[in-house]
Symmetry: C2
DNA sequence: AGGCATATGTAATCGATGATTACTTATGTG
DNA sequence: CACATAAGTAATCATCGATTACATATGCCT
């Protein structure tokens, strides 16, 4: 638990691997993530990584869980900046969701790449449950409004990330957010109404 | 061009590889697709596959292009079954999009997995351009309504595929489609109005 | 028919990867 | 201080994408 950097033992290899994996995924995406490359970057043998992560998927799952934490933080940030009306708070959730996706496209992609993750991981589920959309999962069926709200923000996020809106959105983050906020505002009220009944 | 199955030459190896790759992607997904396994399944040496596809990505791209053809067919089918009113045809596009996604989740996933594809492939772009949502790309910026329409159908498709609506949707295809059709119908008119101005 | 360019396939090989195993070294607790 | 355990190494396997040099079949041209 203490930091021993004298020799041999790394100190906190697990965290170091997580850091390196996060850095790599942000920069290059999940596809090219390699345990060996991570191990080398942290100056450790390939096999050592498997002492802390039984799988490549286990590492990816941990990173995805961290992604949910960041997404949650983004939503809370937008909520804290918004007025304290129900409608403003409702919109802030969507804006935070989209803002996170635009800022962390590779993390967003990983979080919705079921093949690369262990979806039954408890820590992963716990972090996801902090997101309003996810927290309603399991608590009975979602209403029409809830499905639409999630669908809109998720679809817009994904399509924007993948460049399908590149002719329709400014190049910089602030411009994208402003335009997407307008887009969502166009249906916000009706979705909110559907979501409440 | 003729079918010679006497010996050595395969006859139509390229198509055989495409068939096998499509079968594998449908059954297992893109992640585990392997050129070697495909080659073995078609009784051919691994290197032979590279005669017809310079890359693994080139093979994946061809399959994705086929996916767009199938998605287009699904949309046309829903349109042909729908009434000949503007609103009914508008809704049929969305229903066809979602129906395809539910029927071919792995193909749908591949078509929106930019890392695995060569997005600049001409054949791929040509097939995609037959989908109403994609055909508006490049023809000036999309309006608010168009972005919302695409976002809704795409987001609902993806979330449904990934099981995030599993408490809210029936287990069978027909049940899912019925519910999702209701969901989309709840905002169809307002989106259509936005999309037309 | 004969000959030859080309299309198509094989076999061998490279480097990287995920994963496992047996072994070694450090840690810290009774 | 001894010893169980945690944490790392080194070696190895099978698989993968990709390239190369080589072999064989096809079909066109005269």
């Amino acid at each position: 638990m203490n930091k021993r950097n004298k020799s041999y033992h790394h100190g906190d290899l697990k965290q170091a691997l997580l850091d390196e994996a996060l850095r790599h995924i942000r920069a290059e995406g999940i596809e090219s993530l390699s345990l060996r490359a991570c191990s080398k970057a942290v100056q450790v043998s390939p096999g050592a990584a498997f002492r802390h992560f039984k799988d490549k998927r286990e590492l990816a799952t941990a990173i995805a869980a961290h992604g949910y934490r960041l997404m949650c933080a983004a939503i809370l940030e937008y909520q804290s900046k918004a007025e304290d009306t129900e409608m403003a708070q409702f919109r802030a959730v969507g804006e935070g969701y989209v803002a996170f996706a635009l800022n962390e496209p590779n993390l967003f992609h990983l979080m919705f790449a079921p093949g690369q993750l262990d979806s039954s991981d408890e820590h992963l589920k716990a972090q996801a449950a902090k997101i309003p959309m996810f927290s309603r999962e399991g608590s009975g069926p979602l209403g029409v409004g809830d499905m639409l709200v999630w669908g809109v923000v998720h679809g817009l996020s994904e399509l924007a990330i993948q460049g399908h809106f590149k002719d329709s959105l400014p190049g910089d983050f602030d411009g994208k957010m402003e335009k997407l906020t307008q887009v969502m505002a166009a249906v916000g009220p009706s979705l909110r109404a559907l979501s409440q009944k």
